[in-house]
């Protein structure tokens, strides 16, 4: 499993993570800030989480092995 860390202070609410991997990421309804739906992803889910990390315009996401 790979742990996902989201830095809410860097999140700009663009929603790229939700579009990319809706099983892992959501947005707070009022603030638009990223909400993690799970704390870690398995190897099968890793590609989508990595894509979300790369696409995040605020560089708010990191994956910790």
């Amino acid at each position: 499993m790979t742990r996902i860390v989201a830095d809410a202070t860097r999140c700009v609410g663009a929603g790229q993570c939700v579009l990319t991997d809706p099983a892992t990421f959501d947005q707070d309804g009022a603030s638009g800030v990223v909400v993690l739906l799970r704390a870690a992803v398995s190897d099968e889910g890793l590609a989508l989480a990595r894509a979300a990390e790369y696409l995040c315009p605020g560089r708010a996401l990191s994956l910790v092995e």
Binding site: G15, V18, T20, L55, P57
Partner: protein
Amino acid sequence: MNAVLPLTRTCPFAPPAEHVRLQETEPVAWVTLPTGEQVWALTRIDDIRTMLTDPRFSADRTHPGFPHLAPGRRAMAGSLKRMMVSMDPPEHGRARGAVVGEFTVRRTAALRPRIQQIVDERIDALAAGPRPADLVPALSLPVPSLVICEVLGVPYADHAFFQRSTEALLRRTTPPEERQVSLGGLHAYLQELVARKAAEPGDDLLSRQLDGGADRQDVVSLAMLLLIAGHETTANMISLGVMMLLRHPDQLAAIRDDPGRTPRAVEELLRYFTIGEFSLSRVAVGDVEIGGKLIRAGEGVVVLSNAANRDPAAFADGDRFDVGRDARHHVAFGFGAHQCLGQNLARAELQIVLDTLFRRLPGLRLAAPVDELPFKDDANIYGLYELPVTWTVP
């Protein structure tokens, strides 16, 4: 002094050749703008992502080192001071945070039925009218206009005024005096609208901002930004998208047969045309090394994002239009804290328009040769002034 950097496309389907040359030979280049100002030009995706997420680059358009591409732009930058596009942290984060909840993926998805209704109505009217027809006033402009005005609570009766004003603001050849008049007119209108919302709140974004305690002038600035940014940009992408898919019938057939492919097609269109090509400028407020070059505090940076969106390091065979590719890492919506606030709304509108138009009018075709179409070579936002189309009645 080095040669002046050309800013105008000579071909609608390619970035200026000089931008591509810079990307190949000098990806962080010291260039001269047509205004005579000297700035850095970035052409590679990695450098651009780095620059746009580094707090030592400022978006403050009133900074003396901020690059302005046309004469008169610097003079009007003061009026943009209160706009989010011109803000830096921490002010920018507060302003964006107050409104970004209106544009989440879920909120935008909830608008889809209403967008579909708007698109259906416009296509009904188009189909019932004479052939050939110009798609720009029939579909491209009214759809985003109706959608953003609905979001903000702007009465539709005022749309013609908005379309005239934003078009004049965005056209590169508009004389500075005329640009000031358009800007002043829009601003005065929005002042009045926000005052009306304060007195009689509605179920709209502006009313909610006021209800949340936002400063009235800040709400006016926000309204201005969202109207201008949400209106002509999407309109131009609709026109270019329809034109491009009509030129590529095999790719059009692929998305018509399976609308599940449309989201990718939309990302590819955004990448391929990169209509807001010069909207990612910054000024360094500290010394920063980018791509091996030292950018000093006070120096301006322009992003040649059309070339960047064909960077071979990010997009294989980037000159090829391919609706099947994964193009989501383009920088057509920018990158960093300022990445387009309305991007999910734009995506929804483009997806719905393309799916609906080609389903409803399967016999749609261009009514003029592509090389005779009036492309917006003189505008800051690329697009088409007219798109004559015709169709066979099914």
